[in-house]
Symmetry: C2
Subunit: 159 residues, 2 copies
C-alpha cells in the first residue's frame, strides 16, 4: 500500500525565502474530514487531484489521482466542507533537501508550515535554522483540521 | 456539474431473471458515509472505481474515476468503513429499458433492489410487473446506509 512518510514543522522567520525555487497557489477542500480517512480535492495551478489519506501521524497511506480541473472546481464549489484551505506552496531546497513551505491565507493567515517527505520514518534529517517546532504529531496542524477549525477561530492557537 | 438521476425500487419475485443479459459481482466500501458527500471504492470484476456523490434523492452530483485494482483492494482492506457491501449486479432489459438489479449478500442478504438511470427526474417510466415499492426517497436503502447499518441488524427492516 502506498504510504506517505512526512514530517511537519512550523517555520520561523524569512531565511527560507531566498531558497525558493518555484511556487504554486493551492485551493483545496475536503469531502471527508475524518475521523477515519480524509478525502481531499486540490486545485494546483493547471492541474487538479483527489487524494485519499488514511490515519497515522508520520506515515499515512495515501492514494492520489489526477482529475479534470472542471470536476475539481465543481466539487470545491458544491461538495467540499467549508471553509476551503488556500495557501501558496513554495519549493525550497536547503542542503540538498526539498522542503514544501506552505503560506496559508484566510482563516489560517499568518501560518507558515514546512513539510518534508522521507523514505523512512527514522531517516536522519538536518533541520535548517528557519525550522521551528515540529508539529508532525499535532493533529491540529493537519490541513483537514485547518479546514474544519481555522486557526483564527481557535482559542488555543499559537502559530 | 455531472448529475446522476436515478430511481430505486424493491424487487418482487423472480420474473426479471429470464431477462438478465449479463452480471457482475461488486465489492464496495465507503471512505465517507455522509452526512455530506459519500466517497465509494468499488471493485467490479476486472476494474475498480472511486465515486463521489453529493446529497440529493432522485438527482445527485456524481463524479467517478477508474483507479488501479490494487489501489481499490488496499483501500477496501484497510481504509473503508466496515462491513463492505457485496452484491451481484444484473443488467436486465425490459421493454427497452436497462435496469440494474442488485442482489445483496452478507448482512443485506435477501435484499433485491432495482435501479434505473433517467435523463430527467420526471421522465415517464413504465414499471415492469416485478418492480415493487419505490425507495428512491428512503435513505435507508442507499448503499452507504446498507454499509453503515446492514438490514439484518436493524429492528425496523422490511425488505
Amino acid at each position: 500500500m502506498p504510504v506517505e512518510i512526512e514530517r511537519k514543522f512550523l517555520v520561523v522567520g524569512d531565511k527560507w525565502r531566498p531558497l525558493v525555487r518555484s511556487n504554486q497557489r493551492y485551493r483545496q477542500g475536503y469531502l471527508s474530514l475524518g475521523p477515519g480517512p480524509t478525502v481531499r480535492v486540490r486545485r494546483a495551478g493547471p492541474a487538479a487531484f483527489v487524494t485519499i489519506k488514511g490515519d497515522g501521524r508520520i506515515a499515512r497511506p495515501e492514494f492520489e489521482y489526477e482529475i479534470p480541473v472542471e470536476d475539481a472546481e465543481a466539487m470545491l464549489a458544491n461538495l467540499c466542507h467549508r471553509p476551503l484551505v488556500e495557501k501558496t506552496r513554495h519549493d525550497v531546497w536547503d542542503a540538498g533537501v526539498l522542503w514544501h513551505v506552505d503560506e496559508f491565507e484566510g482563516g489560517n493567515g499568518g501560518l507558515v508550515m514546512a513539510e518534508v517527505e522521507l523514505s523512512a520514518a527514522d531517516q536522519p534529517l538536518r533541520l535548517p535554522c528557519w525550522i521551528g517546532r515540529e508539529v508532525t504529531d499535532d493533529p491540529g496542524y493537519r490541513n483537514s483540521e485547518l479546514s474544519r477549525r481555522p486557526l483564527h477561530g481557535r482559542g488555543d492557537a499559537n502559530t
